[in-house]
């Protein structure tokens, strides 16, 4: 885990003091809302439908028990007893009061956290693989690179007022669990033929109203060149990206309009021109950062654990949870597990203050004090001894954190939607809840197998619906909620964007529509074929037929 140095600490404290003064001046009338709004947004404070919303950064989704416990305290003391984990690996509180925000930010600073760069047209929280450092298919822990980008991008004077927000994701593994292909810039840690570690750079991916898959900009970039090269990429975007229309202002539009080859020419020309030594990170500094992500001191354990094996046999519920939510660890005797925040009928990504505290305790007691937030709105405990998995499960179960559904039909991503969000055009969470209830039978869930349903309550696509195996997009049709369905999206290595089935459906129809799609898949699938594989084999026609035949 990265821990703040003196500079980080002072920087965050000064920022809180500055915002405290800004809030005081807004409250006493010295600042108008017009003046105050950009200031509050730069500190993660939005005004939503019912209340303010504070979005807190969790850099690359990585945190420790003390930090998680503080989130629980904030939920309890200043909010309504819960928080909501987001698809950017952050957390949002839905009900804070303006006068309390400076105190909340001070409390966050006490544990090395803040809300900077969680809003605005800047480089946002860099996201990463929730299994960083423990996955067996990893070349290198990507968090050191993420942290380097965080330090470089924080309040970057040139890139604080870009044409639009800018999102970067980094993976160090061969399996892409960070959705790098649908980011403004996606970075994959790779090795070249000489065995040197560097970066493959993708650009121009994104979701929103114009979804696109990122294109390769550089197959291999030496490590020491990362920051100057990113600077060139961002500068070309900042200079040439559109500012006349905010819906066409993301880098994906620029890359699409210029073509990847022309964009690359611009970047390389800029890169040749700039003084790289001015920006390039000192490799000694990179090593210092990387040292902070060095693996914890794992004890030597046998791969098999008798305690674990006995518990698996004695407790079928536990065995089911391990099978579904467990993840192979590179160190013998250890496992990583996903704590699902998708109990049947729950609000996806929500956790109560009690649950946040239990997650903190679970991390400290059973996971070498580490937690990860996933872009799928779940939590990962990355370092659990197999010997202690049963005790961990028992603790999680006491707070309803034992849903054995990772990657299944009820592990639904949903944005806050019209129940909270000022931009939303339809509700998301209640739609997720109804679908979840309909598929609550564990045997049926297991039979259906891997199926990612992703729901967005507006075209901005915070719920990543374009890359859902089944995507649901809620729209407003003359004041009434209407839902478009897409099929076949996926954010991983073989990324694809979902294709629309046809006309939309009403709010009440959606669970039945999902049922029809699932039944159609079950009727068509070949042995061991997932929903996505079946869809890719048979195409849209049979699903469309099943959905619309009666209407024809």
């Amino acid at each position: 885990m990265y821990s703040y140095d003196e500079f980080d600490e002072r920087f965050v404290r000064e920022r809180v003091a500055q915002f405290r003064d800004q809030v005081a001046r807004r409250l006493d009338g010295s600042l108008t809302e017009e003046e105050f709004r950009p200031l509050r947004l730069m500190n993660g404070l939005y005004l939503q439908l019912h209340a303010y919303m504070l979005r807190i950064a969790i850099p690359y989704g990585s945190m420790n028990g003390r930090q998680m416990r503080m989130l629980g305290t904030i939920a309890e003391k200043w909010d309504r007893g819960y928080g909501h984990f987001t698809t950017r690996q952050n957390i949002q509180f839905n009900w804070p009061k303006l006068k309390d925000i400076p105190d909340i930010l001070d409390a966050l600073a006490d544990v090395g956290m803040h809300a900077i760069q969680t809003s605005g047209n800047c480089i946002r929280n860099t996201t990463s693989d929730p299994f960083s450092g423990v996955a067996t298919d990893e070349i290198e822990d990507p968090r050191a690179t993420c942290e380097l980008i965080r330090q470089w991008s924080s309040l970057h004077p040139e890139f604080t007022f870009l044409g639009r927000k800018f999102k970067i994701a980094v993976t160090g593994a061969s399996s892409d669990r960070a959705a790098i292909r649908v980011h403004d810039i996606g970075i994959e840690i790779v090795k070249n033929e000489a065995g040197e570690t560097g970066y493959r750079i993708l650009v121009g991916g994104g979701l929103g109203r114009t979804p696109m898959i990122g294109k390769e900009l550089r197959a291999f970039l030496p490590r020491e060149e990362l920051l100057p090269y990113l600077e060139a990429c961002l500068r070309v975007y900042n200079m040439h990206g559109r500012r006349d229309n905010k819906y066409k202002a993301r880098i994906k539009i620029l890359v699409h309009e210029l073509g990847i080859d022309t964009y690359r020419e611009h970047v390389e020309a800029e890169y040749a021109r700039i003084d790289r030594s001015n920006t390039a990170a000192d490799m000694a500094e990179f090593a210092r950062i990387a040292e902070q992500f060095a693996p914890p001191a794992y004890p030597e354990l046998p791969e098999q654990s008798a305690i674990f094996e006995r518990a698996l046999k004695a407790h079928p519920d536990f065995a089911h949870w391990v099978e579904q939510n467990g993840f192979a660890h590179r160190v013998p005797g250890f496992m990583a597990v996903t704590v699902s925040l998708k109990p049947v009928g729950g609000a996806p990504g929500d956790a109560t203050s009690e649950q946040l505290r239990v997650l903190a305790e679970a991390a400290e007691q059973y996971s070498m004090d580490e937690l990860r937030i996933t872009h799928e709105q779940n939590v990962v405990l990355p370092n659990v001894k197999k010997d202690e998995l049963f005790a961990l499960w028992t603790l999680l179960k006491s707070q309803g954190l034992d849903a054995p559904n990772k990657g299944l039909v009820t592990d639904i991503i949903a944005c806050p939607g019209l129940d909270y969000c000022a931009l939303a055009t339809a509700r998301s969470i209640p739609v997720a809840q109804e679908i979840s209830k309909r598929f609550s039978d564990p045997a049926r869930m297991a039979d259906i197998g891997p199926l990612a349903i992703k729901i967005s309550g507006c075209i901005n696509a915070c719920g990543h619906h374009h890359v859902g195996h089944i995507g649901i997009l809620g729209l407003d049709k003359a004041g009434v909620e209407s839902y478009q369905i897409t099929l076949g999206g996926d954010p991983a290595n073989d990324a694809s964007l979902g294709e629309r089935t046809g006309p939309g459906f009403s709010y009440d129809q959606v669970p039945g529509v999902i049922e029809t799609l699932v039944e159609t898949y079950l009727g068509l699938r070949e042995p061991r074929e997932t929903f996505l594989q079946t869809y890719r084999r048979v195409g849209m026609a049979p699903f469309k037929e099943a959905l619309y035949a009666d209407a024809a």
Partner: protein, 104 residues
Amino acid sequence: MARAFRPVVLTANDLVEGDVVWWTGAVWSRDVSDAEVFDTPEAAEAAEAALNTPEHAACTVGIVRVEVEMRDGAPFPTLRREQIRAERRPTFDYLPTSKVSEAA
């Protein structure tokens, strides 16, 4: 052709609490049924102009019009979004059990 004017009320969020508030003609209320209804564009404009003061800007954020219809003699927003705002809470049971009684 421009759409016919429909009755409106004026709404905002409270500056300190963030709560949804409705203009009653005299004060800001948390209850939409207290809101003063403006039946003509001229009346709505006049009310907006009257609220465009430093005093109101110092206690509210974003004063806007919302279309309403009358239900049981009280204004009720026509758009789903504004209906949810008027409820002052999400449409599902969102509170942890420990907080339900507290928020009631």
